[in-house]
Symmetry: C2
Subunit: 274 residues, 2 copies
Protein backbone atom coordinates (compact mmCIF):
# COMPACT_ATOMS: atom_id res chain seq x y z
CA UNK A 1 0.00 0.00 0.00
CA UNK A 2 2.85 2.37 0.71
CA UNK A 3 0.83 4.55 3.06
CA UNK A 4 0.04 3.56 6.62
CA UNK A 5 -3.53 2.37 7.20
CA UNK A 6 -5.27 4.67 9.66
CA UNK A 7 -8.29 4.15 11.84
CA UNK A 8 -10.49 6.21 9.52
CA UNK A 9 -9.27 4.08 6.58
CA UNK A 10 -10.29 0.91 8.42
CA UNK A 11 -13.69 2.33 9.33
CA UNK A 12 -14.34 3.22 5.67
CA UNK A 13 -13.24 -0.20 4.34
CA UNK A 14 -15.21 -2.18 6.93
CA UNK A 15 -18.35 -0.05 6.53
CA UNK A 16 -18.20 -0.33 2.73
CA UNK A 17 -17.75 -4.11 2.81
CA UNK A 18 -20.54 -4.74 5.32
CA UNK A 19 -23.10 -2.42 3.74
CA UNK A 20 -22.54 -3.80 0.25
CA UNK A 21 -23.16 -7.34 1.47
CA UNK A 22 -26.14 -7.29 3.83
CA UNK A 23 -26.41 -10.26 6.19
CA UNK A 24 -23.06 -11.71 5.02
CA UNK A 25 -20.75 -12.56 7.90
CA UNK A 26 -17.15 -11.35 7.59
CA UNK A 27 -14.58 -12.75 9.99
CA UNK A 28 -12.14 -10.63 11.95
CA UNK A 29 -9.40 -12.55 10.13
CA UNK A 30 -10.73 -11.32 6.79
CA UNK A 31 -10.31 -7.70 7.84
CA UNK A 32 -7.11 -8.32 9.85
CA UNK A 33 -5.43 -9.58 6.69
CA UNK A 34 -6.87 -6.97 4.39
CA UNK A 35 -6.09 -4.09 6.74
CA UNK A 36 -2.87 -5.45 8.22
CA UNK A 37 -3.75 -4.95 11.86
CA UNK A 38 -4.42 -6.80 15.11
CA UNK A 39 -7.80 -8.31 15.83
CA UNK A 40 -8.05 -6.31 19.05
CA UNK A 41 -7.75 -3.11 17.01
CA UNK A 42 -10.50 -4.32 14.71
CA UNK A 43 -12.78 -5.08 17.64
CA UNK A 44 -12.55 -1.45 18.68
CA UNK A 45 -13.27 -0.28 15.13
CA UNK A 46 -16.32 -2.48 14.98
CA UNK A 47 -17.61 -1.07 18.25
CA UNK A 48 -17.36 2.39 16.71
CA UNK A 49 -19.31 1.30 13.63
CA UNK A 50 -21.92 -0.58 15.66
CA UNK A 51 -22.42 2.48 17.85
CA UNK A 52 -22.75 5.02 15.05
CA UNK A 53 -25.17 2.81 13.05
CA UNK A 54 -27.36 2.55 16.13
CA UNK A 55 -27.26 6.26 16.93
CA UNK A 56 -28.04 7.32 13.36
CA UNK A 57 -30.61 4.54 12.69
CA UNK A 58 -28.62 3.16 9.75
CA UNK A 59 -29.51 -0.47 10.42
CA UNK A 60 -27.77 -2.85 12.79
CA UNK A 61 -24.22 -4.15 13.04
CA UNK A 62 -24.16 -7.58 14.68
CA UNK A 63 -21.31 -9.62 16.07
CA UNK A 64 -21.42 -13.41 15.88
CA UNK A 65 -19.23 -14.98 18.56
CA UNK A 66 -17.30 -18.23 18.22
CA UNK A 67 -15.00 -19.91 15.72
CA UNK A 68 -17.32 -19.28 12.75
CA UNK A 69 -17.98 -15.82 14.11
CA UNK A 70 -17.57 -12.39 12.67
CA UNK A 71 -19.57 -9.30 11.95
CA UNK A 72 -22.44 -8.45 9.62
CA UNK A 73 -24.79 -5.66 8.60
CA UNK A 74 -28.48 -6.20 9.19
CA UNK A 75 -30.40 -3.71 6.98
CA UNK A 76 -33.19 -3.27 9.48
CA UNK A 77 -35.35 -0.18 9.19
CA UNK A 78 -37.00 1.40 12.21
CA UNK A 79 -40.79 1.42 12.38
CA UNK A 80 -40.85 5.13 11.67
CA UNK A 81 -38.60 4.70 8.62
CA UNK A 82 -41.03 2.07 7.29
CA UNK A 83 -43.96 4.42 7.99
CA UNK A 84 -42.25 7.20 6.05
CA UNK A 85 -41.56 4.90 3.09
CA UNK A 86 -45.19 3.69 3.03
CA UNK A 87 -46.49 7.23 3.30
CA UNK A 88 -44.30 8.38 0.39
CA UNK A 89 -45.41 5.36 -1.65
CA UNK A 90 -49.10 6.12 -1.00
CA UNK A 91 -48.60 9.69 -2.16
CA UNK A 92 -46.95 8.50 -5.37
CA UNK A 93 -49.64 5.91 -6.04
CA UNK A 94 -52.47 8.44 -5.56
CA UNK A 95 -51.33 10.27 -8.70
CA UNK A 96 -54.38 10.31 -11.01
CA UNK A 97 -52.32 9.91 -14.16
CA UNK A 98 -51.77 6.27 -13.16
CA UNK A 99 -55.37 5.34 -13.87
CA UNK A 100 -55.64 3.06 -16.88
CA UNK A 101 -59.04 2.32 -18.48
CA UNK A 102 -60.46 -0.83 -16.90
CA UNK A 103 -59.66 0.22 -13.37
CA UNK A 104 -55.95 -0.67 -13.46
CA UNK A 105 -53.06 1.38 -12.15
CA UNK A 106 -49.86 1.96 -14.08
CA UNK A 107 -47.11 1.00 -11.65
CA UNK A 108 -44.05 0.24 -13.77
CA UNK A 109 -42.30 3.47 -12.79
CA UNK A 110 -42.43 2.28 -9.17
CA UNK A 111 -41.79 -1.44 -9.48
CA UNK A 112 -38.98 -1.03 -12.02
CA UNK A 113 -37.08 1.73 -10.20
CA UNK A 114 -34.15 0.32 -8.20
CA UNK A 115 -34.11 3.23 -5.72
CA UNK A 116 -37.77 2.87 -4.84
CA UNK A 117 -37.51 -0.92 -4.84
CA UNK A 118 -34.62 -0.86 -2.40
CA UNK A 119 -36.77 0.99 0.12
CA UNK A 120 -39.82 -1.21 -0.47
CA UNK A 121 -37.70 -4.37 -0.26
CA UNK A 122 -36.24 -3.33 3.10
CA UNK A 123 -39.72 -2.55 4.41
CA UNK A 124 -41.08 -5.86 3.14
CA UNK A 125 -38.14 -7.86 4.52
CA UNK A 126 -38.23 -6.21 7.96
CA UNK A 127 -40.39 -8.80 9.78
CA UNK A 128 -38.35 -11.67 8.34
CA UNK A 129 -34.77 -10.50 9.02
CA UNK A 130 -34.48 -12.60 12.13
CA UNK A 131 -36.13 -15.73 10.72
CA UNK A 132 -34.59 -18.78 9.10
CA UNK A 133 -35.67 -18.48 5.46
CA UNK A 134 -33.94 -20.24 2.56
CA UNK A 135 -35.52 -18.68 -0.53
CA UNK A 136 -37.63 -15.81 -1.71
CA UNK A 137 -40.23 -17.16 -4.15
CA UNK A 138 -42.19 -15.10 -6.64
CA UNK A 139 -44.23 -15.69 -9.79
CA UNK A 140 -43.40 -14.04 -13.11
CA UNK A 141 -43.33 -11.20 -14.16
CA UNK A 142 -44.02 -7.95 -12.38
CA UNK A 143 -42.90 -9.04 -8.92
CA UNK A 144 -39.47 -10.29 -10.02
CA UNK A 145 -37.46 -7.06 -9.52
CA UNK A 146 -39.00 -6.60 -6.07
CA UNK A 147 -38.35 -10.24 -5.18
CA UNK A 148 -34.66 -10.18 -6.15
CA UNK A 149 -34.11 -7.02 -4.13
CA UNK A 150 -35.91 -8.52 -1.14
CA UNK A 151 -33.70 -11.60 -1.57
CA UNK A 152 -30.67 -9.29 -1.53
CA UNK A 153 -31.78 -7.70 1.75
CA UNK A 154 -32.24 -11.17 3.26
CA UNK A 155 -29.07 -12.51 1.58
CA UNK A 156 -30.80 -15.60 0.15
CA UNK A 157 -31.47 -16.78 -3.42
CA UNK A 158 -34.71 -16.23 -5.30
CA UNK A 159 -36.89 -18.71 -7.16
CA UNK A 160 -39.20 -17.66 -9.98
CA UNK A 161 -42.30 -19.76 -10.56
CA UNK A 162 -43.18 -19.67 -14.24
CA UNK A 163 -46.61 -19.55 -15.85
CA UNK A 164 -45.66 -22.47 -18.09
CA UNK A 165 -42.90 -25.10 -18.11
CA UNK A 166 -39.60 -24.13 -19.80
CA UNK A 167 -37.40 -26.45 -21.80
CA UNK A 168 -34.31 -24.75 -20.46
CA UNK A 169 -35.02 -25.54 -16.82
CA UNK A 170 -35.08 -29.36 -17.02
CA UNK A 171 -37.70 -31.40 -15.19
CA UNK A 172 -40.51 -29.20 -13.96
CA UNK A 173 -43.41 -29.64 -11.60
CA UNK A 174 -46.55 -28.14 -13.05
CA UNK A 175 -49.77 -27.38 -11.23
CA UNK A 176 -53.14 -25.80 -11.95
CA UNK A 177 -54.66 -23.33 -9.54
CA UNK A 178 -57.70 -21.08 -9.38
CA UNK A 179 -57.08 -17.35 -9.53
CA UNK A 180 -59.19 -16.26 -6.57
CA UNK A 181 -60.73 -13.14 -8.07
CA UNK A 182 -61.46 -14.22 -11.66
CA UNK A 183 -62.08 -17.90 -10.84
CA UNK A 184 -60.01 -18.69 -13.92
CA UNK A 185 -57.78 -21.76 -14.02
CA UNK A 186 -54.10 -20.86 -14.37
CA UNK A 187 -50.93 -22.91 -14.50
CA UNK A 188 -47.72 -22.56 -12.51
CA UNK A 189 -44.50 -24.45 -13.12
CA UNK A 190 -41.22 -24.72 -11.29
CA UNK A 191 -37.90 -26.40 -12.08
CA UNK A 192 -37.76 -29.48 -9.86
CA UNK A 193 -34.13 -28.96 -8.95
CA UNK A 194 -34.60 -25.33 -7.94
CA UNK A 195 -35.85 -26.13 -4.45
CA UNK A 196 -34.61 -28.77 -2.02
CA UNK A 197 -36.96 -30.69 0.27
CA UNK A 198 -37.54 -29.04 3.62
CA UNK A 199 -36.75 -25.53 2.34
CA UNK A 200 -38.48 -22.60 4.00
CA UNK A 201 -39.63 -19.89 1.61
CA UNK A 202 -41.00 -16.37 1.71
CA UNK A 203 -43.50 -15.59 -1.06
CA UNK A 204 -43.11 -12.02 -2.32
CA UNK A 205 -45.37 -10.24 -4.79
CA UNK A 206 -46.41 -6.74 -5.76
CA UNK A 207 -50.16 -7.21 -5.46
CA UNK A 208 -52.69 -9.53 -3.84
CA UNK A 209 -56.40 -9.66 -4.47
CA UNK A 210 -58.18 -12.80 -3.25
CA UNK A 211 -54.91 -14.60 -2.59
CA UNK A 212 -55.32 -17.30 -5.25
CA UNK A 213 -51.71 -17.03 -6.36
CA UNK A 214 -50.40 -17.10 -2.79
CA UNK A 215 -52.60 -20.16 -2.13
CA UNK A 216 -51.31 -21.81 -5.34
CA UNK A 217 -47.68 -21.17 -4.35
CA UNK A 218 -48.37 -22.61 -0.89
CA UNK A 219 -49.80 -25.78 -2.45
CA UNK A 220 -46.96 -26.02 -4.98
CA UNK A 221 -44.38 -25.78 -2.19
CA UNK A 222 -46.17 -28.53 -0.26
CA UNK A 223 -45.98 -30.66 -3.39
CA UNK A 224 -42.20 -30.12 -3.35
CA UNK A 225 -42.04 -30.78 0.40
CA UNK A 226 -41.02 -27.18 1.00
CA UNK A 227 -42.88 -24.74 3.22
CA UNK A 228 -44.15 -21.19 2.82
CA UNK A 229 -43.29 -19.47 6.12
CA UNK A 230 -44.32 -15.98 5.05
CA UNK A 231 -46.36 -14.10 2.43
CA UNK A 232 -45.33 -10.49 1.87
CA UNK A 233 -46.96 -8.18 -0.66
CA UNK A 234 -46.76 -4.46 -1.30
CA UNK A 235 -50.48 -3.93 -1.83
CA UNK A 236 -53.43 -6.06 -0.85
CA UNK A 237 -56.97 -5.20 -1.89
CA UNK A 238 -59.46 -4.40 0.86
CA UNK A 239 -62.05 -6.71 -0.75
CA UNK A 240 -62.52 -9.58 -0.46
CA UNK A 241 -61.59 -9.21 3.20
CA UNK A 242 -61.55 -13.00 3.49
CA UNK A 243 -58.51 -14.09 1.49
CA UNK A 244 -57.76 -17.64 0.40
CA UNK A 245 -54.75 -17.63 2.71
CA UNK A 246 -54.80 -16.86 6.41
CA UNK A 247 -51.77 -14.78 7.24
CA UNK A 248 -50.01 -12.26 5.09
CA UNK A 249 -48.00 -9.10 5.49
CA UNK A 250 -48.93 -6.14 3.28
CA UNK A 251 -47.52 -2.63 3.38
CA UNK A 252 -50.54 -0.94 1.78
CA UNK A 253 -54.24 -1.56 1.39
CA UNK A 254 -55.96 -0.77 -1.91
CA UNK A 255 -59.67 -0.01 -1.87
CA UNK A 256 -60.23 0.55 -5.59
CA UNK A 257 -60.53 3.59 -7.77
CA UNK A 258 -63.42 5.99 -7.94
CA UNK A 259 -63.18 6.50 -11.70
CA UNK A 260 -65.61 9.39 -11.83
CA UNK A 261 -63.79 11.40 -9.19
CA UNK A 262 -60.44 9.94 -10.20
CA UNK A 263 -59.69 9.11 -6.60
CA UNK A 264 -57.27 6.27 -5.88
CA UNK A 265 -58.02 4.81 -2.47
CA UNK A 266 -54.78 3.54 -1.05
CA UNK A 267 -53.74 3.52 2.61
CA UNK A 268 -51.12 2.21 4.97
CA UNK A 269 -52.37 -1.22 6.01
CA UNK A 270 -53.09 -1.50 9.70
CA UNK A 271 -52.39 -5.06 10.67
CA UNK A 272 -55.39 -6.78 12.17
CA UNK A 273 -54.57 -8.66 15.34
CA UNK A 274 -56.51 -11.85 16.05
CA UNK B 1 -27.79 12.63 19.73
CA UNK B 2 -26.30 13.20 23.17
CA UNK B 3 -22.82 12.03 22.22
CA UNK B 4 -20.40 14.16 20.23
CA UNK B 5 -20.02 13.17 16.59
CA UNK B 6 -16.44 12.16 15.92
CA UNK B 7 -14.46 11.94 12.70
CA UNK B 8 -14.81 8.13 12.60
CA UNK B 9 -18.59 8.52 13.06
CA UNK B 10 -18.75 10.88 10.11
CA UNK B 11 -16.64 8.56 7.94
CA UNK B 12 -18.96 5.63 8.72
CA UNK B 13 -22.17 7.58 8.03
CA UNK B 14 -20.89 9.09 4.78
CA UNK B 15 -19.48 5.77 3.52
CA UNK B 16 -22.72 3.92 4.34
CA UNK B 17 -24.89 6.52 2.61
CA UNK B 18 -22.77 6.70 -0.54
CA UNK B 19 -22.28 2.95 -0.97
CA UNK B 20 -25.95 2.15 -0.49
CA UNK B 21 -26.91 4.62 -3.21
CA UNK B 22 -24.47 4.20 -6.10
CA UNK B 23 -24.24 7.15 -8.49
CA UNK B 24 -26.57 9.30 -6.35
CA UNK B 25 -25.12 12.71 -5.64
CA UNK B 26 -25.30 13.88 -2.00
CA UNK B 27 -24.63 17.53 -1.24
CA UNK B 28 -22.24 18.73 1.44
CA UNK B 29 -25.25 20.46 2.99
CA UNK B 30 -27.00 17.11 3.36
CA UNK B 31 -24.15 15.74 5.44
CA UNK B 32 -23.42 19.05 7.22
CA UNK B 33 -26.96 19.03 8.58
CA UNK B 34 -27.07 15.35 9.40
CA UNK B 35 -23.65 15.37 11.08
CA UNK B 36 -23.80 18.84 12.57
CA UNK B 37 -20.42 20.05 11.31
CA UNK B 38 -18.76 22.58 9.02
CA UNK B 39 -18.48 21.96 5.30
CA UNK B 40 -14.72 22.39 5.49
CA UNK B 41 -14.57 19.49 7.96
CA UNK B 42 -16.67 17.38 5.60
CA UNK B 43 -14.36 18.15 2.70
CA UNK B 44 -11.47 16.67 4.66
CA UNK B 45 -13.56 13.58 5.52
CA UNK B 46 -14.41 13.08 1.89
CA UNK B 47 -10.77 13.30 0.90
CA UNK B 48 -10.05 10.50 3.36
CA UNK B 49 -12.83 8.33 1.89
CA UNK B 50 -11.83 9.11 -1.69
CA UNK B 51 -8.23 8.17 -0.91
CA UNK B 52 -8.99 4.88 0.86
CA UNK B 53 -11.46 3.76 -1.83
CA UNK B 54 -8.76 4.36 -4.45
CA UNK B 55 -5.99 2.59 -2.50
CA UNK B 56 -8.13 -0.46 -1.73
CA UNK B 57 -9.82 -0.60 -5.16
CA UNK B 58 -13.30 -0.25 -3.67
CA UNK B 59 -14.69 1.81 -6.54
CA UNK B 60 -14.46 5.55 -7.00
CA UNK B 61 -15.62 8.50 -4.93
CA UNK B 62 -16.29 11.52 -7.14
CA UNK B 63 -16.84 15.15 -6.32
CA UNK B 64 -19.12 17.28 -8.43
CA UNK B 65 -18.26 20.97 -8.17
CA UNK B 66 -20.70 23.85 -8.34
CA UNK B 67 -24.06 24.79 -6.88
CA UNK B 68 -25.68 21.43 -7.69
CA UNK B 69 -22.49 19.74 -6.59
CA UNK B 70 -21.75 17.09 -4.04
CA UNK B 71 -20.22 13.67 -3.79
CA UNK B 72 -21.13 10.23 -5.10
CA UNK B 73 -19.95 6.63 -5.20
CA UNK B 74 -19.15 5.15 -8.60
CA UNK B 75 -19.17 1.33 -8.24
CA UNK B 76 -16.43 0.86 -10.82
CA UNK B 77 -14.54 -2.42 -10.77
CA UNK B 78 -10.93 -2.63 -11.90
CA UNK B 79 -10.13 -4.73 -14.97
CA UNK B 80 -8.57 -7.41 -12.80
CA UNK B 81 -11.64 -7.53 -10.54
CA UNK B 82 -13.79 -8.07 -13.64
CA UNK B 83 -11.39 -10.78 -14.85
CA UNK B 84 -11.65 -12.57 -11.50
CA UNK B 85 -15.46 -12.42 -11.55
CA UNK B 86 -15.59 -13.80 -15.11
CA UNK B 87 -13.11 -16.55 -14.27
CA UNK B 88 -15.16 -17.60 -11.22
CA UNK B 89 -18.34 -17.53 -13.32
CA UNK B 90 -16.75 -19.74 -16.00
CA UNK B 91 -15.73 -22.27 -13.37
CA UNK B 92 -19.25 -22.37 -11.97
CA UNK B 93 -20.84 -22.72 -15.39
CA UNK B 94 -18.51 -25.59 -16.38
CA UNK B 95 -20.18 -27.79 -13.73
CA UNK B 96 -21.48 -30.86 -15.64
CA UNK B 97 -24.58 -31.17 -13.50
CA UNK B 98 -25.97 -28.09 -15.30
CA UNK B 99 -26.45 -30.00 -18.54
CA UNK B 100 -30.14 -30.45 -19.34
CA UNK B 101 -31.27 -32.82 -22.12
CA UNK B 102 -31.55 -30.86 -25.35
CA UNK B 103 -28.26 -29.07 -24.91
CA UNK B 104 -29.45 -26.49 -22.42
CA UNK B 105 -27.72 -25.33 -19.27
CA UNK B 106 -29.50 -24.93 -15.94
CA UNK B 107 -28.58 -21.42 -14.82
CA UNK B 108 -31.24 -20.37 -12.31
CA UNK B 109 -28.88 -20.79 -9.35
CA UNK B 110 -26.65 -18.13 -10.92
CA UNK B 111 -29.14 -15.69 -12.40
CA UNK B 112 -31.42 -15.72 -9.37
CA UNK B 113 -28.70 -15.30 -6.72
CA UNK B 114 -28.41 -11.65 -5.61
CA UNK B 115 -24.76 -12.02 -4.51
CA UNK B 116 -23.63 -13.41 -7.85
CA UNK B 117 -25.85 -10.98 -9.73
CA UNK B 118 -24.35 -8.01 -7.93
CA UNK B 119 -20.90 -8.96 -9.20
CA UNK B 120 -22.12 -9.69 -12.73
CA UNK B 121 -24.13 -6.45 -12.81
CA UNK B 122 -21.08 -4.40 -11.84
CA UNK B 123 -19.00 -6.13 -14.50
CA UNK B 124 -21.68 -5.60 -17.12
CA UNK B 125 -22.21 -1.95 -16.18
CA UNK B 126 -18.50 -1.09 -16.13
CA UNK B 127 -18.15 0.23 -19.71
CA UNK B 128 -21.30 2.35 -19.32
CA UNK B 129 -20.69 4.05 -15.97
CA UNK B 130 -19.43 7.22 -17.61
CA UNK B 131 -22.09 7.38 -20.32
CA UNK B 132 -25.39 9.22 -20.43
CA UNK B 133 -27.96 6.40 -20.29
CA UNK B 134 -31.58 6.85 -19.23
CA UNK B 135 -32.90 3.30 -18.93
CA UNK B 136 -31.84 -0.31 -18.77
CA UNK B 137 -34.12 -2.33 -21.05
CA UNK B 138 -34.61 -6.09 -20.92
CA UNK B 139 -37.13 -8.63 -22.19
CA UNK B 140 -38.98 -10.98 -19.86
CA UNK B 141 -38.20 -13.26 -18.00
CA UNK B 142 -34.79 -14.62 -17.15
CA UNK B 143 -32.84 -11.41 -17.64
CA UNK B 144 -35.02 -9.29 -15.32
CA UNK B 145 -33.12 -9.81 -12.04
CA UNK B 146 -29.83 -9.07 -13.80
CA UNK B 147 -31.32 -6.00 -15.48
CA UNK B 148 -32.67 -4.46 -12.28
CA UNK B 149 -29.33 -4.95 -10.54
CA UNK B 150 -27.51 -3.41 -13.49
CA UNK B 151 -29.99 -0.52 -13.32
CA UNK B 152 -29.16 -0.16 -9.63
CA UNK B 153 -25.42 0.05 -10.37
CA UNK B 154 -26.12 2.73 -13.00
CA UNK B 155 -28.78 4.43 -10.83
CA UNK B 156 -31.39 4.51 -13.59
CA UNK B 157 -34.82 2.87 -13.98
CA UNK B 158 -35.45 -0.37 -15.84
CA UNK B 159 -37.98 -1.14 -18.55
CA UNK B 160 -39.26 -4.67 -19.18
CA UNK B 161 -40.39 -5.50 -22.70
CA UNK B 162 -43.16 -8.12 -22.54
CA UNK B 163 -43.80 -11.01 -24.86
CA UNK B 164 -47.42 -9.95 -25.21
CA UNK B 165 -49.42 -6.81 -24.44
CA UNK B 166 -50.78 -6.44 -20.89
CA UNK B 167 -54.08 -4.89 -19.94
CA UNK B 168 -52.53 -3.40 -16.83
CA UNK B 169 -49.98 -1.31 -18.67
CA UNK B 170 -52.31 0.82 -20.76
CA UNK B 171 -51.59 1.60 -24.41
CA UNK B 172 -48.86 -0.66 -25.72
CA UNK B 173 -46.72 -0.73 -28.82
CA UNK B 174 -46.49 -4.25 -30.17
CA UNK B 175 -44.03 -5.54 -32.75
CA UNK B 176 -43.15 -8.83 -34.42
CA UNK B 177 -39.54 -9.86 -34.82
CA UNK B 178 -37.59 -12.87 -36.04
CA UNK B 179 -35.69 -14.84 -33.42
CA UNK B 180 -32.33 -15.06 -35.18
CA UNK B 181 -31.50 -18.66 -34.34
CA UNK B 182 -34.87 -20.41 -34.71
CA UNK B 183 -36.19 -18.09 -37.44
CA UNK B 184 -39.47 -18.14 -35.53
CA UNK B 185 -41.70 -15.07 -35.43
CA UNK B 186 -42.08 -13.69 -31.91
CA UNK B 187 -43.90 -10.73 -30.46
CA UNK B 188 -42.65 -7.99 -28.16
CA UNK B 189 -44.77 -5.35 -26.48
CA UNK B 190 -44.02 -2.27 -24.42
CA UNK B 191 -46.17 0.18 -22.51
CA UNK B 192 -46.19 3.35 -24.59
CA UNK B 193 -45.79 5.62 -21.58
CA UNK B 194 -42.82 3.73 -20.19
CA UNK B 195 -40.27 5.42 -22.42
CA UNK B 196 -40.04 9.08 -23.45
CA UNK B 197 -38.91 10.18 -26.90
CA UNK B 198 -35.18 10.69 -27.22
CA UNK B 199 -34.33 8.32 -24.35
CA UNK B 200 -31.00 6.48 -24.51
CA UNK B 201 -31.17 2.86 -23.38
CA UNK B 202 -28.84 0.00 -22.56
CA UNK B 203 -30.20 -3.43 -23.50
CA UNK B 204 -29.22 -6.07 -20.94
CA UNK B 205 -29.81 -9.81 -21.20
CA UNK B 206 -28.40 -13.06 -19.88
CA UNK B 207 -27.79 -14.77 -23.20
CA UNK B 208 -27.37 -13.91 -26.88
CA UNK B 209 -27.33 -16.30 -29.79
CA UNK B 210 -27.86 -14.74 -33.22
CA UNK B 211 -28.90 -11.40 -31.76
CA UNK B 212 -32.52 -11.48 -32.99
CA UNK B 213 -33.88 -10.19 -29.69
CA UNK B 214 -31.28 -7.43 -29.50
CA UNK B 215 -32.13 -6.46 -33.07
CA UNK B 216 -35.85 -6.52 -32.23
CA UNK B 217 -35.32 -4.28 -29.21
CA UNK B 218 -33.26 -1.88 -31.32
CA UNK B 219 -36.08 -1.66 -33.88
CA UNK B 220 -38.73 -1.29 -31.17
CA UNK B 221 -36.80 1.59 -29.60
CA UNK B 222 -36.52 3.31 -32.99
CA UNK B 223 -40.29 2.96 -33.31
CA UNK B 224 -40.59 4.83 -30.00
CA UNK B 225 -37.98 7.41 -31.06
CA UNK B 226 -35.62 6.14 -28.40
CA UNK B 227 -32.12 4.82 -29.03
CA UNK B 228 -30.18 1.73 -28.00
CA UNK B 229 -26.71 3.01 -27.10
CA UNK B 230 -25.38 -0.28 -25.76
CA UNK B 231 -26.05 -4.03 -25.76
CA UNK B 232 -24.60 -5.93 -22.82
CA UNK B 233 -25.04 -9.67 -22.28
CA UNK B 234 -23.46 -12.16 -19.90
CA UNK B 235 -22.93 -14.91 -22.47
CA UNK B 236 -22.86 -14.76 -26.25
CA UNK B 237 -22.59 -17.90 -28.36
CA UNK B 238 -19.52 -18.28 -30.55
CA UNK B 239 -21.69 -19.24 -33.52
CA UNK B 240 -23.02 -17.62 -35.54
CA UNK B 241 -20.04 -15.27 -35.42
CA UNK B 242 -21.99 -12.79 -37.54
CA UNK B 243 -24.72 -11.51 -35.27
CA UNK B 244 -27.78 -9.55 -36.38
CA UNK B 245 -26.43 -6.54 -34.49
CA UNK B 246 -23.01 -4.99 -34.93
CA UNK B 247 -21.66 -4.06 -31.54
CA UNK B 248 -22.24 -5.74 -28.27
CA UNK B 249 -20.45 -6.28 -24.98
CA UNK B 250 -20.37 -9.85 -23.59
CA UNK B 251 -18.53 -11.11 -20.54
CA UNK B 252 -18.32 -14.74 -21.69
CA UNK B 253 -18.36 -16.71 -24.89
CA UNK B 254 -20.26 -19.99 -25.09
CA UNK B 255 -19.16 -22.57 -27.66
CA UNK B 256 -21.72 -25.28 -26.97
CA UNK B 257 -21.70 -28.51 -25.02
CA UNK B 258 -19.95 -31.70 -25.97
CA UNK B 259 -22.73 -33.96 -24.63
CA UNK B 260 -20.74 -37.18 -24.97
CA UNK B 261 -17.81 -35.89 -22.97
CA UNK B 262 -20.01 -33.64 -20.88
CA UNK B 263 -17.75 -30.72 -21.56
CA UNK B 264 -19.20 -27.22 -21.36
CA UNK B 265 -17.16 -24.87 -23.52
CA UNK B 266 -17.31 -21.45 -21.94
CA UNK B 267 -14.57 -18.80 -21.95
CA UNK B 268 -13.86 -15.20 -21.11
CA UNK B 269 -14.78 -13.26 -24.21
CA UNK B 270 -11.87 -11.46 -25.79
CA UNK B 271 -13.22 -8.36 -27.42
CA UNK B 272 -12.56 -8.20 -31.12
CA UNK B 273 -11.22 -4.86 -32.20
CA UNK B 274 -12.03 -3.66 -35.70
Amino acid sequence: MGKKISKTDRIAVITKTLVENPKSIFTLNHFAEKLDCAKSTLSEDMDVIEDVFRRFHLGEIHSVPGAAGGIYYNPKLTDSQIEAICEELCQRIKDKSRIIPGGYLYMNDIFYDPNVLQKIAKSLAAPYLGQKIDYVVTIETKGIPLAIMTAQVLNIPMIVVRKSARLTEGTTIQMNYVAGSSRRINTMAIAKRSIPKGAKVLFVDDFMKAGGTAKGITDLMKELEAEVVGIAVVMATKKPSEKLIQDYYALLEFDGIDEREENIRIYRRVKQEE
